[in-house]
């Protein structure tokens, strides 16, 4: 892979280094025991939803608009049955 920039940087009093040539907003950082550090760019995933989930929400909102929803649920009861008090 071709190198596009190479530099020496010094960390500041707060253990930060500046990457003047950084192209991306987010990076995944891996630190190794020999001291070398790797940064891999990350891009936020485009938010998606399943068509089935969208259909689920569409029909729920149709009912919601008419004030139709279930009775209140009790999560404590569910957790007690699952042994998670």
């Amino acid at each position: 892979m071709q190198i596009v920039a190479e530099m020496d940087v010094k960390k500041d009093a707060r253990n930060r280094v500046v990457l003047p040539a950084a192209e991306f907003e987010h990076y995944h950082v891996t630190m190794f025991e020999d001291g070398h550090v790797e940064l891999h760019p990350r891009v936020l995933a485009v938010p998606t939803v399943s068509l089935r989930t969208l259909g689920m929400m569409d029909s729920a909102m149709e009912h919601f608009a008419r004030g139709e929803v279930s009775a209140p649920v009790n999560p404590d009861a569910m957790l007690a049955v699952l042994g998670e008090d």
Binding site: V49, R52, T53, M56, H63, V69, S70, M78, E84
Partner: protein, 160 residues
Amino acid sequence: MPFEVRMGIPEMRDLWNRLEAGARQGTLTAKEKTLAKKFAKAVKHLQANPFHPGLSSHEIDDLTKRYGQKVFESYLENNTPGAGRLFWVYGPERGQISMIGLEPHPEDAKSGAYKRIRLSELPKTKKEEAEERAAKEAAKSKGAAHLGTRSPAKRPRGKR
């Protein structure tokens, strides 16, 4: 003041009831048990504080536009959207929250294959389609009425 959490009809309500019944009867699979625990814990957090840090609740603008009221998404597991996402709205009454969707859809989680859509490219709702059809019909009948008042032999001035 805690919120009252209710389920959207029909699928979220049916899912909650199925998980609760399965938990009582001891018939849940391991995956369903995990989902039930996470779901119940998330609902418990929502009751106390919909913006509990563990939920990472945030508004989803595309869904807010679609339904005409604020729709929020919360994670089933702390900072892990991949573990499952809950969609909810405030209401229908004050002090209530209604769960309207779960991603991945329980059927998708079973079958493994499902069509996905970007939130920024949601298809029209039935209401939007009906409004569009009505607008087209109105435009058609307006045009037809206008033609009906003119004699076909005569053309209006200035028009070819």
